[in-house]
Amino acid sequence: MDVFLKAAAGVLVAVILVLVLMKQGKDLSVLLIVAVCAMVLCAALSYLQPIKDLIIRLQTIGQLDSDTLSILLKAVGIGLIAEVTGLICADAGNAAMGKTLQFLASAVILWLAIPLLNELLELLDTILGAI
């Protein structure tokens, strides 16, 4: 909880500093935005680690396939990075680059999901074959 309050205060201070720097030149203010986003994300990820452990425990209890969970986790990580990068690009006035990166992330996630889709097709084949 202490980290959250610290982050909220830091972000508020950083917003004011970004406004001050924006008057002099946009380049340094964008770098400040990137640094703040990276710091807040690092803090957020430290809270996500126990949640990941819980998910792995649930997977062990439910005897689920570890590959499926791994693909899901990778998709979440790629989506997170792409979303934050896209938002920063949009803030810097380069929305096109951000959107392109988000498109790349979508393509990579689809590529990662190919084994899952193959499994689904095989399952459908088995079910329909049995009928």
Partner: protein
Amino acid sequence: MDIELIFRIAAVGIIVSILNQVLSRTGREEQATMTTLTGLVVVLMMVVQKISELFDLVKGLFNL
């Protein structure tokens, strides 16, 4: 969370902007540009370390 980094970047930005204005007013436009570039590189070095730390964290957490 390293709040000091925010103040460090803001301080570099303000110092660079002051130097830029002083050098521009005294007719040293080239030096002003070089000062701005140097400040940018210094801040970039700080930010790159943080981004690297973030990517390492994401890689470790999501098994990328």
